[in-house]
Structures are given as structure tokens and as C-alpha cells.
Amino acid sequence: MTAQQSLAIIAESMNNSRKAILRSSAPYFFLWGILLTVVSLVIYFLWHASGHPVWNMLWFAMPVLGYASAFLLRKKEGPVPTNEIGRLLGPIWGTFGVFSMCLSAIAVFFVPMNISLIIVIILGLAESISGVVLKNWPIIVAGAILGIGGAVAASLLQGAEQLFLFTLGGILLVLTGLIIKFQYK
């Protein structure tokens, strides 16, 4: 085996395993994106039809549904190791989940606040940071548009219409999954 062949094996092995790991994160972006889109639309239609914002309590069902589905997905896909990028992406979205659930609970039960404004900002931030980690400009820009544009829109929109920001966020998560899937094919 020549030095060139050795280097080729090293490069190919590292590159292929990196791609396999990153590709395996795509279904989770699909899962959370579809869930966010569906939940936001369901709440919008229920709120719109009943005229009552109490349906926003359904947001608290999202982590239960999401983590249960993610658990089943992980079981179905089998064990996949992680690398430095995977070790960053998990905590970024985990932190987003914890922040958004805690702030939502505080807003509902203790201190009323424009929760859509706050969550759309941190959702956009998490998306942009994911783009930085993945070195992917479309994801960085999509996150910035969602976070900054969403903050402006959340301040202007009233009532149930604010939910469309999360529908857009869900669609962006699905698109992120698609970008990852094709970038690391």
C-alpha cells in the first residue's frame, strides 16, 4: 500500500462516516418540522373556529409527541455514532426546546408576555447556529429571516395569525432536513 493509497483510505473513511452521521440527523429535522407545522395549523384552526386562545395549551403536547416519535425513530434507524458536529447540533436544539417550554410555561401561568415574539427569535437563532455548525449559508440565512423577520412580524400580527410564524418555522426545519439529506448524500 502506497502513501497515496493510505491517505485516500483515511480521507474516504472519515468523509463517508461524517456523511452517514450528518445524513442520520435529517429525519429528526423532518419530524420536528412536520410536527411544528401540523401543531401550529391545528391550533390556528381551533382558535379561529372557537375564538378562544385556550387551544394554545396544545403546544405542551408537542414535546411529548416529538420525543416519543424521536425515540421510536431512533429505535427504527438503529444506533448511529456521532461526531463533533452531531455533538453540537443535539445540545443546540435541546437548549432551544428547554428554553421555549420554560418560557411558554412562565408566560401561561405567571408573567404574560409576547411568547410568539420570543420563541420565533430563539427558533431563528437555533436554526442560524445550526447553519454555522454545518457551514451552510442557506440554513444561516433561513434562520436569520425567521428570527429577525419573525420578530418584526410577531410584533405586527395579532392573535391567531401569529401562529403562521411557527408554520413557517416548521417548513424551514423540513427544508433544513432536505438540505442536509442532499448535501451529505
Binding site: I10, E12, M14, S17, G78
Partner: protein, 94 residues
């Protein structure tokens, strides 16, 4: 004078396994098998050789009812891999 290449790493399959583990630190047998396209028997033999040298550690257990073997690169293995890559550079024309 060219530096001597580590004979344990200068083998196609063992080098591929070490390259993957250098990237992911820890991986189970089925992932390594899929990534290297090796047969289970051959991969198992090469993993044993790397483990005997202290380059990787092997944990055998169960996931549910299925047996699961997890390989983890050790600090010694990572150092050996880095030295091997550095030594390779001397063989390449500038």
C-alpha cells in the same frame, strides 16, 4: 530517511477502522461493517488486533435482545493514528 510506518495501521481495513474511529471516537460493530464493506469475520479479526495493541477498547453488551459490540478509540490509538498520518506526509512529494 523515511520514518517507519506503524505496521498495525498500514493495512487497508485496520486503517479504515481507525480513520472512522478517529472521526467518531466510538462506533458499534454494525456501523463499522457498513462503512468498511468488510465481512463480519475479517472485521472481527482486525478489531481484535487493534484491541490487543491497545489502540481501541471493545465493549460487548446487549441492546434489547441483540448482542452489541462497541469499539472506542483509546488515547494511545489516537496518538498512533496521528503519528501514522504525520509519517505519511514524509512519503509524499511536495
Amino acid at each position: 530517511m523515511f520514518p517507519k510506518l506503524d505496521p498495525l495501521l498500514h493495512s487497508e481495513l485496520r486503517l479504515a477502522v481507525m480513520s472512522i474511529l478517529a472521526e467518531v471516537r466510538s462506533a458499534d460493530f454494525s456501523f463499522l461493517k457498513k462503512q468498511t464493506d468488510a465481512t463480519a469475520g475479517n472485521l472481527s479479526v482486525q478489531i481484535d488486533k487493534l484491541a490487543e495493541a491497545g489502540y481501541i477498547s471493545v465493549q460487548k453488551g446487549f441492546k434489547g435482545k441483540m448482542p452489541c459490540t462497541t469499539c472506542t478509540i483509546t488515547p494511545t490509538g489516537l496518538e498512533a493514528f496521528r503519528n501514522y498520518v504525520n509519517a505519511l506526509k514524509d512519503y509524499l512529494p511536495l
